[in-house]
Amino acid sequence: MSESSIAHVPHPNLPPPSNSIGAIGWVRHNLLSSPLNIALTLLAIWLLYLIIPPILRWAIIDATWSGDNREACHPGGACWVFIQVHFGQFMYGFYPDGQRWRVDLTALLLIFGAAPLFMHAVSNRLKVRLGLGLLVIYPVIAFFLLKGGSFGLPVVETSQWGGLLLTLVIAGVGMTAALPLGILLALGRRSRLPAIQTLCVTFIEFWRGVPLITVLFMSSVMLPLFLPAGMNFDKLLRALIGVTLFQSAYMAEVVRGGLQAIPKGQVEAAAALGLGYWKTMGLIVLPQALKLVIPGIVNTFIALFKDTSLVLIIGLFDLMNMVHNATTNPDWLGFSTEGYVFAAAVYWLFCFNMSHFSQKLEKRLHTGHKR
């Protein structure tokens, strides 16, 4: 009996077959696992071949990047000179050249004011104060900066505002005004008082049932009829009222979803502690409900941002209308593709980042509400 014959040394595991790991394994598993899968892969590659090379050739390889008039452009490729020449218009609209620093300053204030809200190092308390400050004080500062008329700034009429500036103004005002209005409407819809409930339900269902474009039509042709003679509203303000009322109805439905998700025990516990209606809602129910529906709120914001392009219908010169206007300029006919691709890229950047942010937020706030 020799020791060596008994000693049992397990053979080390063999490495997995080389074609099931690494790049080859990944390709086999994800692209070529079955005949159908192979066919789909080929189809997808063919589609990519059809789409990608012509786009690359048009947008980059054959494109013209610099110059100052249309003669500089090669035929066949994109003419980004068109965007370069009109860039100022697309951003500021008809805002006077010498005053554009005011728009830049307003934007910088917002960026630096809002940046701490997205930092982890800043305490929540400070964030809330800063957020409230941004909501209450910033709009006033921005209005005086943009409109002028005081502190020695010349007046710039709202009819001169345009481009991305106007898009952001409409989206920003719509968002900040629609959220509180929407919360009130949602509370009203969940109220036990029949008259209040009926009023809110009627309001919400009315605005949700009609297209935004008819609302804008209404605000431009019917609002002047509703007001006493001689009282005249700014065109921008009329559009803002229409957009805000429309969006607040959608916001109300989102918030209602959150309110319904809060268990009744929360309200009963608050009542047992002796809190009244507004304290129950403001301290107990709304903080939980709003946290639940943040993704929905952001989605409403995205929809609002995209909907701002509709103000073109009533003759406001937002980004969309500035681009459209530039493509119909007789000196620059034939560059509509470039114009629309540029506008699409700008809108896409804003919307995509917002939706990305909301997804991240959803993951971070997912702190075990859902069972």
Binding site: L193, V210, Y340, Y347
Partner: protein, 393 residues
């Protein structure tokens, strides 16, 4: 006072919840009614000042303008009431076609998004993320002003087998012309539908009684296609195709899809399909994997599992948001006004309003139509929800 009265103090009346409830409601109602009266009063004054007679009499006066696409007979001598019907039908047409196309595209992309094939799933994702984040109006403009303006003039039309032509005036297709005997084909189709319905019931009863399955799908298809075809042949093929022909500067005859409609339809279906795709994906993912495993362990094969277990449960999740998207698409079709497709908003709330000055009536009718559509759809939705709701103990 309080120290003299040990009995519980009745709160002052302004703190009584019931009094408060009534007071709040009365205040809300009074404010609403006052606001309404104020607006009504202003409107009356303004109308009198501008010399506009309110009322719906304008609907019977002649319109005097032509419409580029009409589904019912219409001419500039027709009245504004007919403009309304033409416009409404145009809206319904583009919405219905858009719903069909968007559903098809959305389901394909939504299923592709769940594909095990990495490339296909990523392509679907890129499609969704691209088109969902670009405003619909921009997409409509892109198709209308950038793409469809680039197609050739009528004389250099792109053609497909001398039957379908594409040029800057639109897409021309052969139109079917029904000859007298065609009614019999329709009758045959109706009979086939009735037979299929009866067959389905009979097969179900037989399966319940004996356990024997009947190849219902194949038989129904054969019935639905075969019977009308046989009758069509017997009746002497009572159907002719009218081909579009180049006459002078443009094509005559056949069916034409005007560029306004084509770009609106393209943009609406491409945009809405992204939302439908996400709805389909989340609906399928909402069915727990245990359901599939349980069904496979019962011996159902994968296609039966999909048809009898996964899809019915996924549809319960998919259909409510899906109808919401249909409603959105219908409302979004009003963007037609921006490119001049004669829908309700463009032809009625636009041209008619501008010509007659009857702002309140035109906008009110337009809004009422959209409200009715959305009300009908949500009623149907509620009915469906009640039907498919989970029946629990």
């Amino acid at each position: 006072m309080a120290e003299h009265a040990p009995a519980p103090v009745k709160p002052p009346f302004w703190n009584d919840p019931q009094v408060r409830a009534i007071a709040f409601q009365v205040i809300a109602l009074v404010v609403t009614v006052a606001f309404g009266l104020y607006i009504f009063h202003n409107t009356q004054l303004n109308l009198r000042r501008l010399g506009i007679a309110s009322g719906f009499d304008f609907l019977s006066s002649p319109s005097g303008f032509d419409i580029i696409q009409t589904l019912i007979p219409y001419s500039p001598t027709s009245n504004y009431g007919q403009v309304f019907w033409v416009a409404l039908l145009n809206t319904l047409l583009v919405s219905a076609l858009g719903i069909v196309l968007a559903t098809l595209l959305g389901f394909i992309v939504g299923i592709a998004r769940l594909s095990k094939n990495w490339l296909v799933a990523k392509l679907a994702l890129i499609y969704i993320e691209t088109f969902r984040n670009i405003p619909l109006l921009l997409q409509i403009f892109f198709w209308y002003f950038a793409v469809l303006r680039a197609v050739p003039a009528p004389r250099q039309s792109l053609s497909l087998g001398d039957a379908v032509f594409l040029n800057i005036r639109g897409l021309y297709m052969p139109a079917p012309q029904f000859q007298p005997g065609f009614g019999w084909v329709l009758v045959a189709l109706a009979i086939a539908i009735g037979l299929v319905w009866w067959l389905k019931r009979w097969a179900w009863q037989r399966q319940m009684a004996t356990g024997q399955a009947f190849p219902i799908l194949r038989t129904s298809l054969a019935l639905l296609l075969g019977l009308p075809l046989v009758v069509f042949w017997l009746a002497g093929s009572p159907l002719h195709w009218q081909l579009p022909e180049l006459r002078g500067f443009n094509f005559q005859g056949g069916w034409v899809v005007i560029p306004e409609m084509a770009s609106l339809l393209l943009a609406l279906s491409v945009y809405t399909a992204t939302f439908i795709a996400e709805i389909v994906r989340s609906g399928i993912q909402a069915v727990s994997h245990g359901q599939t495993e349980a069904s496979l362990s019962l011996g159902l094969n994968s296609s039966l599992t999909l048809r009898l277990v996964v899809l019915p449960q996924a549809l319960r999740v998919i259909i409510p948001p899906l109808t919401n998207q249909y409603l959105n698409l219908t409302k979004n079709s009003s963007l037609a006004a921006a490119i001049g497709y004669p829908d309700l908003v463009a032809a009625f709330a636009g041209t008619t309003l501008n010509q007659t000055g009857q702002a309140i009536e035109c906008i009110a009718i337009t809004m009422a139509v959209y409200l009715t559509i959305s009300l009908l759809i949500s009623l149907g939705m509620n009915w469906y929800n009640r039907r498919v709701a989970l029946v629990e103990r």
